[in-house]
Every structure is written in structure tokens, then in C-alpha cells.
């Protein structure tokens, strides 16, 4: 009996050490675009210091880059991988520009770029909703 | 008296209520023609580790020789010095005369006193 349980537990460990699914990666990508958006919005309202906002945007940029590479290698089923790659790359560029605009203290430019980033986020969300379900 | 329940692992206090450690072991004398009787309480050294496994006792003995007061044997207090056995066991001894806090004094003198604000160990 205890041998069966040990084997069962080993199976759990073996199958559990799996990488995230493309659907989970899409959700993470959305999350990081959303994070950049929230951090940007907070900065516009003078809620957060420059250093924190820049660091959070940089983190979002890096995380999004990793996720975009992985999604390129194994795109989610039912997704237009070219369009997805394009919008993720565009989002990354916008996040990098937001960082630069903080340094330049260009509030108006920042607000415009942030609106564009939110539009990208809505686009990625629509792509994610059209995908095949995860579970 | 239930030795395991009321004596083993109990806290030891000297006649001035200073902490001396715990009852890590008991030494029993078994005579050919007499009833077995407890002769000593044993504190520290390899005694508690021996209760886990001899390998731990050997490791403890090796570490004790490399560092600290380098005491070879555990501290033994004659059973006759036991005054009361209750929630703690009170002994009719002075802790500094027994060697039970050799480690405490060694660490205090060699490490704690050397750090500013550490205070000083009382002599005697």
C-alpha cells in the first residue's frame, strides 16, 4: 500500500515540474502590461516616486520580453502568433518610452503613451479571450 | 516518583535559583546484592545526543574538543544534592562550582564581552 502511495507521489512530482502553458504565459503577459499601466497611472497622479516607477517599468519590460520570446517559440493554440508578437513588441517599446519620459519629466507625452499602452492591453486581452480554454 | 516524567529533562536550579541546564541523563548504580539506585544527575556534554544516536554523541564530542571550554566529561551532580523535585528541580549547589555553566561563561568572556554593550561576567 505504501509503495503505491510513494509511486503516486513521485508521479505528482514528475508531472508537476512542468513549464507554464501558453495560456498561462498570455495571462502573465497581460499582468505585466497591466502592472506597467498601473505604475504609470500612479506616477501621473504623483503617487509614486520616479525611481520606483522607472524600476517597475523596467521590470515589466524585462518580464514581457521573456514571455514574448517563450510565446514566439510555442504560441497559444488559436492565436494569431504574428499579431501577438507584434503587439507584445509594441507594448515593450511603449514601456521603454515611458521610462525615458519619466527622466525627461514629460508628463503630457507620458499620458499619451500610457493611453496607447492601455489600448495594447485591451488588444492582448481580446486575443487571450479568443484563445482555447486552459482547463 | 516517576523518573521519566518528574526528573528527566526537567530544568535544574541551584540554591540561588540560577539556571543550571536540564537533566540530560541519570547515572544509576546497579550492585550485585543491592537495589539499583540513582547516584548522579548528568548535565550536558554528549549525554542528550547519545539519546538520539551515538553518531550525534561522537559529533558533539568532536566539536566540544575544537571549541569552547573543552570539557571532556558531562557535569555530574550527586543525587544527594537534590533538594526538591517539582516543576523544576532545585539542587543544593552553587552553579559556578559545578561546571554546568562553563559554556555560558566561556561564550560570555570570549565573545559577548568583546562586543560593545555586552557587559561583563561577574567573577567568582
Amino acid at each position: 500500500m505504501w509503495i503505491k502511495r510513494l509511486l503516486g507521489l513521485s508521479l505528482i512530482f514528475a508531472t508537476a515540474c512542468k513549464p507554464p502553458t501558453p495560456a498561462e504565459q498570455m495571462e502573465s503577459a497581460l499582468s505585466w502590461i497591466g502592472t506597467a499601466g498601473m505604475a504609470g497611472k500612479a506616477w501621473l497622479r504623483h503617487t509614486t516616486p520616479d525611481t520606483y516607477t522607472r524600476q517597475t517599468l523596467e521590470l515589466s519590460h524585462d518580464k514581457l520580453g521573456q514571455l514574448a520570446d517563450e510565446l514566439l517559440k510555442s504560441p497559444p493554440p488559436g492565436a494569431d502568433s504574428e499579431s501577438l508578437n507584434s503587439v507584445l513588441a509594441r507594448s515593450r517599446k511603449r514601456i521603454a518610452r515611458l521610462e525615458a519620459l519619466i527622466t525627461a519629466k514629460n508628463v503630457r507625452g507620458f499620458a499619451r503613451e500610457l493611453d496607447a499602452l492601455r489600448a495594447d492591453q485591451r488588444l492582448v486581452k481580446r486575443m487571450s479571450d479568443r484563445m482555447e480554454p486552459n482547463e | 516518583m516517576d523518573l521519566v516524567r518528574d526528573v528527566m529533562d526537567q530544568k535544574l536550579l541551584d540554591r540561588e535559583d540560577c539556571e543550571m541546564g536540564r537533566v540530560d541523563g541519570l547515572v544509576m548504580e546497579v550492585g550485585e546484592h543491592s537495589q539499583p539506585r540513582i547516584t548522579h544527575i548528568q548535565i550536558g556534554g554528549t549525554t542528550p545526543w547519545m539519546r538520539l544516536h551515538p553518531a550525534f554523541a561522537r559529533l558533539s564530542a568532536r566539536l566540544a574538543q575544537m571549541w569552547g571550554p573543552k570539557r571532556k566529561e558531562p557535569v555530574r551532580i550527586p543525587w544527594s544534592r537534590v533538594m526538591t523535585v517539582g516543576r523544576d528541580i532545585k539542587l543544593d549547589v552553587r552553579v559556578r562550582e559545578t561546571g554546568a555553566i562553563d559554556w555560558e561563561i566561556w561564550i560570555a568572556r570570549h565573545i559577548i564581552e568583546r562586543i560593545p554593550g555586552g557587559g561583563h561576567v561577574e567573577e567568582g
Binding site: 507521489l9 505528482i12 512530482f13 508537476a16 515540474c17 495571462e27 502573465s28 497581460l30 499582468s31 502590461i33 497591466g34 502592472t35 499601466g37 498601473m38 505604475a39 497611472k41 500612479a42 497622479r45 504623483h46 503617487t47 509614486t48 516616486p49 525611481t51 520606483y52 522607472r54 524600476q55 517597475t56 521590470l59 492591453q121 486581452k125 486552459n134 482547463e135 | 521519566v4 528527566m8 529533562d9 526537567q10 530544568k11 535544574l12 540560577c18 539556571e19 543550571m20 541546564g21 536540564r22 540530560d24 539519546r51 538520539l52 516543576r87 559554556w103 555560558e104 561564550i107 560570555a108 565573545i111 559577548i112 564581552e113 562586543i115 554593550g117 555586552g118 557587559g119 561583563h120 561576567v121
Partner: protein, 404 residues
Amino acid sequence: MKKVLAITLGIVTSVGGFLEIGSVTTAVQAGAAFGYQLLWAILLGTACLVFLVEMSGRFSAVSRHTIVDATRERFGFPFFAIVMVGVVLVFFMVLVAELGGIGLSLQILTGIGFPWWAVPVSFVVWFLMWKGTFGLIENGASILGLVTISFVVAAVKLNPDWGAAAHGLLPGMPGTDKAKYGFLAVSILGASISPHLMYFYSSGAIEDEWDKSYIPVNRFIATLGMTFGGVLSMAALVAAALTFQPNGVEVDTFEQSALLMTTALPKWGFFLFAASMLFTCLGAALETSLAIAYFFAQGFGWSWSEDLTPSKNARFCFVYTIIILLAAVPLLMGIDPIKVTLMSMALTAATLPLAVAPFLFLMNDPIYLGEHRNGWISNTVVAITILISFVLALIAIPLQILGG
């Protein structure tokens, strides 16, 4: 007056113990990922903790022994040694996480990375223990920790659907991501029912020289203090649900958590979050360091008290000095404190039976407690908590891998 002031023991145990990087991280992650659905885990953890903390205090007040004393005396050195291994491992990881939490709070405020804060933060924690008294740590941490009331203010300002929140107080299963849900539930319970809280509280009752006359006060403190911590934790979850979910943000990092109150409290939210984490992690770091030192000193029968000069309880002070030094090392190496936090919560859950199971015996021991032994309600709660702890111990590690 002393009894009235004694409520600070409960509040610091709550604020520094209940509310710290583990409980805040898990609550915020849970709110962001599942909305109100995991409020029941905080409620359950809080309820168990109220009873366990009350028992710890009652035990020490009546017997004038701590839980650790009694664990060694009643179960012997071999069992104590097993508990010691589990305790040292888990408490050490918790200490790393708390020091890291202080470092991360300073990082988001200054922009200087948390590894640079490892040494100064560890030094400050050590210095407060070296020079400070138990009263200073107790009162200081609890007063500073009151800044966490901002979590409640933020949650209320976001106008939650109280009906939906009330639904979250009942256990349920989500539609998707069951493994992650399970992992977060286990982590929340591990963050709530922390053994170091019980050991600290029990030792604190001795430090504060409680006796049988403190039994009613103890009940009040345990209930008020732990409930206060539970409410703060729930407020963090609710605020996270209303702040992060609408933006599609899953919270994985401290930087993301820092945005928790920026919607509800635009002017001060960010700084209040940073201050809250700074002070609660500081309180928790002090509490955890003390809990480790108390554990060794009480288990081996050394002299111990935070109120004594270090040379008068040399081994006790040596233990916390070494442990704080060692805890700085993973942070200096840049190991993510949030990852350490989540692992330590899962490990706490996995080792919970070792800490909780002895309670059933100790709290019914007439030699220690006389007429103040557990009644059937307390015994039932302990039994249920032991059952929960065994279930958590079995599923914690697999869920950590599957859903963590």
C-alpha cells in the same frame, strides 16, 4: 494599569507576527488572483490562532513555564530534537523573508536594491535586540505597526461588495487554476498559524511576569490581537481584489504589491504601504529572532531574558546574533525574499503538526495547569487544528510545486 498595557503584547504578536511579509504577500496574491474567494482561509487561520495563542498565554501564566520548556519536559529530548530541526529550518527562512521584506520596503522607497540593505537592516535588528528590552521591542513594534490600519481604510474606500466578500468567508472551489488556489490557501494558513507566534507569546508572558490573574486579560489579548491581525490581512486581500483584478494584474513581486493602495489612497497610499511593510517586517524579524533564541535557551535550560545584559545570558544572545548574521547571507546573494517567503509559508504548513500536536497533551496536563486545563471547546479546536495541520503537511509541498 499593567494589565491594560499588557494588550500591547497581543497587538505586537499580531502586528509583527500575524501581519508580516508572508501574510501580506499571500493575502495580496490571493485577492489579485481569486478576488474574495480566499477570505475563508484567513478567517480559519485567525480562528485557530486565537485559540492557540490564548492557550500559549494561559499555559505560561499558570505554570510559569513556556511551551518550549514543557515540550522538552513532557516529550523528552529526542522529540524536542526533531521539533528543533523543523523549527530552526522554518524560522530561519521566515527571518530571511522578514529581513528581505525590510530591504524591499527600503528598495521601493529609495531605488537602492535590497541586497545593499541586507547588512544595515540586519545590524539594526541585531542592535535593537542587543540594547533593547522586551518592553521596548513589544511597545515600539506595536505602536509603529498601527500604520497598517491604512489597509482597512484603503479597503473601505474602494467600496467593496460586502455581500460578495461575505460569500468569500465560506470555502469554495474556483472554476480554473485549482492548484494555485490550493497553494494559496495552504500558504495563507501557513502564514496565519505560525508556531513562532505561539513560542514568542508564551515567552513574552514570562518576560512580562504574568500569573494566574492574567488569565482573563490573556483571553482578551489573544482574541483582540489576533482578530485585529486577521482583519488587517482580510483588508489587504479585499484591497488587492479591487485594485489588481480590474487591471488584470497577478501579483508575483513586491514591486507590484506596492501599488496596493495607490488607487484608494492616491496621495499617501504608496508610502503607507512601504511604511506598513517596513514596520511589520521589522516587528516580525525581532519576534522571529527572539523566538529562535528562546527556543534554544528554553529547550536546553540556559538563562534567557531580553531584559538582561547580554553577558548575563550569553548563549541566548549568541544564538540570535549568529542567526541574524546568517540570515543576511541569502539576501546579500540576491535571493528573492518573496520566493523565500512563499517557500517558508509552505514549509511552515508542512511542519505544523510538530508544533501543534503537543498542545493537545500539554493543555490537558494537570501538573502544569491544574484547574485551568482545556475545556471541551478548546480541545475540539486543538483537535481540528491538528487535523488541518496534518492535511496541510501532506499537501503543502506538492501544491508548492504544482501551484506555487
